[in-house]
């Protein structure tokens, strides 16, 4: 491999790492002009398409790489990621099992497999695979993230989310740890805390849609006008049903006890609260999102 070609590979990798996809594409094109068959550059081309979220282009470019270099580790890992992104979980699993038979003690592969399994809703298996990855390397970040998401999905209290705690202890400013923390805080109905963490994430990546969506959710839930709706946010449908039943019972029971004027006021208050809970959150959401699509 010529030094010039290696330099193009190095440059393309550097731009991909920095998420400067157009610059990476230029470096890849310059390299491919020198050697159109370069496996490394073609792999980086596939990775570029993956980063651009063009999964079908990524799959076709990566398949071509694997036809020429079937043992290419990074291309095989990418093939599984692309399949997972295309929700072809069976294919992702097949590739990952093949990889694991070649590299049985690779903690990152175990964690990647756990993530695929988690996408398929198999919490228990994902949990076991992550535990195995952590046995190989106790600080495997992806395995901890997978376990963290499983804890959130299982609605574990924040103080019992050990994976999250480990992530925060190991790297308290890492994006994946903070992202998980914000989700956990939202899940634990601590929107003010989630809002602060989300703000930190936005400062680092203000154009990331997922981060913005998280920040928006935290801001919505922590808005002062949502305070009266706290029981409904905290307990969901259960609280709505309880509110309805309680309202009917109280209104019926108080008919004899209160004067007609007071009784009417009570009914109006109840109805207003229901309408408020129904109409206000979407209105507030639209107001908070004002101008974002302009």
């Amino acid at each position: 491999m010529s030094a010039e070609l290696e330099r193009h590979i190095s440059e393309a990798s550097a731009w991909l790492e920095r998420d400067r996809l157009d610059r990476a594409a230029e470096a890849i094109a310059r390299g491919l002009a020198l050697d159109p068959n370069s496996v490394e550059l073609r792999y980086l081309g596939a990775l570029l398409e993956y980063e651009r979220d063009d999964f079908s282009a990524a799959a076709s470019a990566n398949d071509a790489v694997l036809r020429d270099a079937p043992a290419h580790y990074a291309a095989r890992v990418l093939a599984a990621r692309v399949a997972r992104a295309q929700t072809d979980l069976a294919r992702a699993e097949t590739i990952q099992l093949e990889l694991l038979s070649d590299y049985p003690a690779d903690e990152n592969l175990l964690a990647e497999y756990a993530l695929t399994v988690l996408h398929g809703g198999q919490f228990e298996k994902a949990s076991q695979l992550s535990a195995e990855a952590l046995r190989v390397n106790p600080s495997c970040q992806l395995a901890l993230v997978v376990l963290g998401y499983i804890d959130i999905l299982r609605e574990k209290p924040v103080n019992q989310q050990h994976a999250l705690q480990t992530l925060l202890q190991q790297n308290p400013s890492a994006r994946h740890a903070l992202n998980l923390l914000a989700h956990a805080q939202l899940g634990a109905h601590r929107p003010q805390d989630a809002r602060e963490v989300a703000a930190q994430l936005v400062r680092e990546q203000p154009n990331d849609p997922a981060t913005l969506s998280l920040a928006r959710a935290a801001r919505l839930q922590s808005h002062w006008s949502m305070l009266p709706l706290w029981p409904l946010m905290r307990y969901g449908w259960g609280a709505s049903i309880a509110l309805y039943v309680l309202g009917v019972v109280v209104i019926r029971g108080s008919r004899e006890m209160l004067s007609p004027n007071w009784h009417f006021a009570l009914v109006m208050l109840w109805v207003s609260y229901i309408i408020y809970s129904w109409i206000w959150p979407p209105l507030l959401k639209r107001w908070l999102e004002r101008g974002e699509k302009s």
């Binding site: 330099r7 190095s10 550097a14 400067r20 590299y103 690779d106 913005l212 920040a215």
Partner: protein, 405 residues
């Protein structure tokens, strides 16, 4: 632990990659090369890593297969856990001097090729508009540089770092050149994209050389365009290479063992959020200056300048500029190009020759929008959702003034 003890431990836990690597290293140290190679290969099979490849490269080197060793070593660089091996780095350096095809220049000649050194003639008067920004830069940067005695009496020193940030195409680089011109200092402009693509170790050495050269040419202005690429946030970086560049940059900014007095360090970025937070601390790029899209008067002046030698009807430049809110200098160039194309197309279609009219500009305007809007939307996200960060106060003021907050 000795090789035998490690071997015994491996019998109990055969999938412990760290243990196997230690065993392979022990075998290598005791010159059992074939056995060591087998162990490194097994490590690679268990878990793909740079350490196993570096181990294999060391064995090949000892066996005299230097080409193979270098190939493995270069492959190892692609992994996130790569850390440089001094012996193999030496071999790589030797290969550079032997084979021109493999040469990876890292010399003074490379520095000159990648760094533009000049004494710019651009002055603030050559930059249209942005009077407020010029005033800030004059007070905070230029006057302390030109009158160090006066500022020293007020305990203010010259030099230090200033980060210019804002949407692309709004004159950050021109402003930096104008600052150097006003300071009448040597201007070192660094092509960042080439530095980030250098080999492990080379980028750091290049940075050190650059600062050394600037110190030898005091007073000097060092300018780093696209600082976000060079000083990419270490929290986001996945490679050791990127982290080491930032570490070296920080050491040079702090002037460890050196004196950075009379060196003004300017940088520009479109993505300040990607710059490592340590860069923005006191003594480094503590002053961050927002370079907004040109204001109304600046846009009118740009239109006037750009149309100076081009046939055009008399125009009310201010009125046209009013329709170009948020347009950058580059956008205005694009707009005038489009208008020119329209006129030329009409002439080539047989219409009589005519100058550019206000209508041509308006028609061109209907085909394009300000390229700064994407950046401004991102900045709005910062202000809206990452509140409390004082670094973006000037952006907040701009967004509010233009009804974008």
């Amino acid at each position: 632990m000795t090789a035998r003890e490690l071997e015994a431990a491996l019998l109990v836990n055969p999938f412990d990659t760290d243990l196997r690597l230690a065993y392979a290293r022990a075998l290598l140290d005791s010159h059992e090369l074939d056995a060591a190679r087998l162990q490194f290969e097994l490590c690679g099979k268990q878990s793909a890593s740079a350490r196993a490849l570096v181990g294999q490269a060391l064995i090949e080197m000892r066996l005299g297969a230097n080409d193979k060793a270098l190939k493995l070593y270069r492959l190892a660089r692609q992994f996130a856990d790569f850390s440089a091996d001094p012996t193999l780095e030496n071999l790589n350096d030797q290969a550079r001097t032997i084979g021109p095809e493999r040469a990876i220049p890292a010399s003074e000649a490379t520095l000159s090729a990648r760094v533009l050194i000049e004494r710019p003639r651009v002055r603030f008067n050559d930059v249209a508009g942005l009077e407020g920004l010029k005033k800030t830069l004059r007070l905070q940067i230029i006057e302390p540089f030109l009158k160090p005695g006066l500022f020293a009496r007020f305990k203010k020193t010259a030099g230090g770092g200033v980060l210019l940030y804002g949407p692309p195409g709004c004159g950050k680089t021109l402003m930096a050149r104008a600052v150097a011109g006003e300071c009448n200092a040597e201007f070192f402009s660094v092509g960042v994209s080439e530095i980030v693509s250098m080999w492990f170790g080379e980028s750091e050495s290049m940075l050190a050389q650059l600062f050394a050269k600037a110190r030898a040419h005091k007073p000097a202005v060092l300018f780093f365009d696209e600082l976000d690429a060079l000083a990419f946030s270490r929290a986001k970086a996945s490679s050791e290479h990127s982290r080491r560049i930032v570490n070296e940059f920080l050491a040079q900014l702090d002037g460890l063992g050196n004196d950075n007095a009379e060196i003004l360090i300017l940088a520009a970025t479109n993505m300040p959020w990607d710059v490592d937070p340590a860069m923005k601390r006191s003594g480094r790029f503590a002053r961050q200056v927002f370079v907004p899209p040109p204001d109304l008067q600046a846009r009118a002046d740009m239109l006037k300048m750009r149309l100076l030698d081009v046939p055009h009807e008399p125009l009310d430049h201010l009125r046209v500029a009013q329709e170009l809110t948020h347009f950058s200098g580059a956008d205005i160039d694009g707009l005038i190009d489009l208008a020119k194309e329209r006129v030329l197309s009409d002439i080539l279609d047989g219409a009589p020759e005519r100058p550019i009219s206000a209508r041509d500009l308006r028609d061109a305007l209907s085909e394009m929008s300000a390229s700064t809007l994407d950046w401004l939307r991102t900045a709005r996200n910062l202000v809206r959702y990452a509140g409390g960060d004082a670094s973006y106060r000037e952006v907040d003021v701009y967004l509010k003034a233009h009804g974008l907050a």
